[in-house]
């Protein structure tokens, strides 16, 4: 029951949202089966106690998605609160550096809160309100999903608790403070590896005990059905916009679309609207850490095998006995041993190609983009930049590489300073910084 019914028709007549709303295709394409399976992947591998709450979310989601009033409010917020649509930027200097194809950046970093994550939290918070839930909880790795959740909770006046691994709290201190400032409680998670997967475990445990009045805003296109489908639907604004913008600016579709993959939300959001454009190569870039052979990475699709974690069957980094392995990435948001089931299905169907960028390559890409375009990308997004640059270098100037710039790098300044501070301070001579 929506607390403030919105008259879609009047709303659209009344203001400037009509053209904006018209650009989005609301049809659900390539849907999973009724149980949430994408081919052999996905499903709802959840404890009994969660089965009914998940069914309620599924029912509420499909009802909302069919309701024009839901989209009127969602799209109004995406436009006037988040700042969509985000630009598609032809990065000419970066293209020149690559020396091959033209590189276009989808500027999700310019969204309110600084990453794509808010597309999803707006949608799910509206759903939570329709379902009459007063509290929201979420897991977070890099803190971007936590910030995006805390932000919408503040706006919708909902209580908010964010679960975050102790190790990530250390790595992403600025985001922790932002969440607290926004009124959320940030709860450290010490179990297991004290990173994103453990934060998910803890949020699930808390949700089981509180599902009566609490909604779990899952942060990526993984987890039990309906999350992979729902999170995808909320993020396809990225790819739908990018597709139209690319046609408008370049007169053609890109040759390659590239996104980094943690759980898969920014990747599925960018790539899915190109699913049926068979000439567009779709590339998912995983965290290569210290290298895929080092064992210290988070490349679930490239190195993992099918397994069951956090409610769905998908590729998983695990040992021979099914124990989930610790992962490593320079970026907290990619430091996750699983991956969304739809990407797994697309890989299996031959519709997705894989790539990986190491910590060092991501860090170098971050510096390059910063220096030549004046854009500081998130470390997560820097993986996509690194791989996109490599691909562009092999291509011709009439070709197009579309890269999802999923977030901005402000949150990573601590990490980057630790790694590069000396080097950069040293080069500034008497530049002022201590």
């Amino acid at each position: 029951m929506p607390s403030q019914p919105v008259d879609f028709a009047n709303d659209l007549k009344a203001d400037f949202n009509a053209d904006f709303a018209a650009q989005y295709d609301l049809e659900i394409k390539h849907a999973p089966d009724a149980g949430g399976h994408f081919g052999q992947f996905g499903g709802r591998f959840a404890a009994e106690t969660l089965m009914q709450p998940l069914q309620e979310i599924e029912d509420a989601f499909f009802a909302a998605w069919a309701d024009p009033a839901f989209h009127a409010e969602r799209l109004d917020l995406l436009k006037n609160y988040v700042g969509r649509q985000t630009p598609l930027y032809h990065a000419k200097h970066l293209s020149a550096e690559a020396g091959g194809a033209q590189i276009y950046l989808k500027r999700e970093d310019l969204n309110h809160t600084g990453a794509h994550k808010v597309n999803n939290t707006i949608g799910q918070a509206l759903l939570a309100r329709r379902m009459g839930k007063r509290k929201v909880i979420a897991e977070t790795g890099a803190g971007q999903h936590g910030v995006a959740t805390a932000t919408v909770a503040a706006m919708f006046n909902m209580e908010c608790a964010i679960y975050m691994g102790r190790e990530d709290i250390r790595r992403q201190a600025p985001n922790v403070f932002r969440m607290k400032l926004l009124g959320a409680e940030v709860i450290p998670v010490d179990s297991g590896t004290a990173t994103l997967k453990d934060a998910v475990n803890e949020a699930l445990r808390v949700w089981v005990a509180n599902c009566e009045d609490t909604y779990y805003i899952f942060g990526t296109a993984a987890g039990p059905h309906p999350f992979p489908l729902m999170v995808r639907q909320f993020h396809t604004v990225i790819g739908q916009e990018a597709r139209a913008q690319c046609l408008a600016q370049a007169g053609r579709l890109p040759d390659v679309a590239v996104a980094c993959v943690g759980g898969g939300s920014n990747a599925i959001g960018l790539l899915h609207p190109f699913y049926d454009d068979r000439d567009v190569r779709l590339v998912a870039v995983e965290a290569g850490g210290h290298g895929l052979k080092s064992g210290a990475h988070a490349a679930s699709l490239a190195v993992g095998k099918p397994g069951i974690l956090h409610g769905s069957l998908s590729y998983l980094l695990e040992d021979a006995e099914g124990q989930v392995q610790g992962t490593h990435s320079i970026s907290a948001g990619l430091d996750y041993p699983g991956v969304g089931p739809e990407l797994a299905a697309m890989l299996e169907a031959g519709r997705l190609q894989l790539d990986a960028a190491t910590d060092d390559e991501a860090l170098a890409a971050l510096q390059l983009l910063t220096r030549c375009e004046g854009i500081i990308p998130a470390l997560e997004s820097s993986h996509a930049i690194a791989a996109g640059l490599r691909m562009a270098a092999e291509m011709t100037p009439d070709q197009i590489v579309l890269i999802n710039l999923s977030g901005r790098g402000d949150k990573d300044m601590g990490t980057v300073f630790e790694l590069l501070g000396d080097q950069i301070d040293g080069s500034v001579q008497d530049g002022g910084a201590a």
Partner: protein
Amino acid sequence: MSSSRLNALFERCRSEDRSAVIGYLTAGDPNPELSRELLLTLAAQCDLLEIGMPFSDPMADGPVIQAASERALAAGTHIDDVFALTRDVRAAHPELGIVLMGYANVPYAMGFEQFAERAQAAGVDGVLLVDIPPEEGAICDAVLRAHQLDRILLLSPTSPDARIALAGEHGSGFIYYVSLTGITGADMGDIAEIHDKVAHIQAATEMPVCVGFGIKTAAQAAEVARFADGVVVGSHFVTTVAMADDPVAALQEAAADIATAVHQARGGDAG
């Protein structure tokens, strides 16, 4: 079509007008050697033993059983050890019901066929996989059945009638009723509500209905034992073992307390 051993034990309990005593420990906690002694100690007091397979990400468990899993894995417990411990318990207790409990990914990684074969060979009667609800049973049901392993399903306070029917259709052995909406080790739910729901489920299924999650004291065990077909105690035993200077003696005492309470629960004014 449940395993003859589980059938027999619930029938025995029914004929004695009592609830079954069901104990849980995580295999390999705190290490495989001591775990063997602990499992044997607990088995001696129980009608049915649930042996937990340690997992890196026990999402439905509270801090107590999470820690047990972490200790077991840190001590180098492998799935081979779980089967070896199970075999030893079976050898010592031919009548005991034995259920392996855990998360989907451990058997999935091994392959359900091999897992079921090894479980059967080790003397297991049933398998309870927390994160494989009836809807996802296609990945394991037929294989478990082929190896005479019961598929124990859970029901919870949030399960509506349709899900109770589903569990009746796909489950076998017994129904494990989770007494609270939460994780293992939380505080037990309201006894009247548990009673109502259990009675409702008992009316809807042929299977025995056992109650677990949150039962920590002999008094609570006795209350539940008045109406449930089985009483499951887990976190309480794991905590007892973890806190004790002499874990075997402490477990012996705690298990005897619970067993006595369950045995006497319907005998008048026991408490």
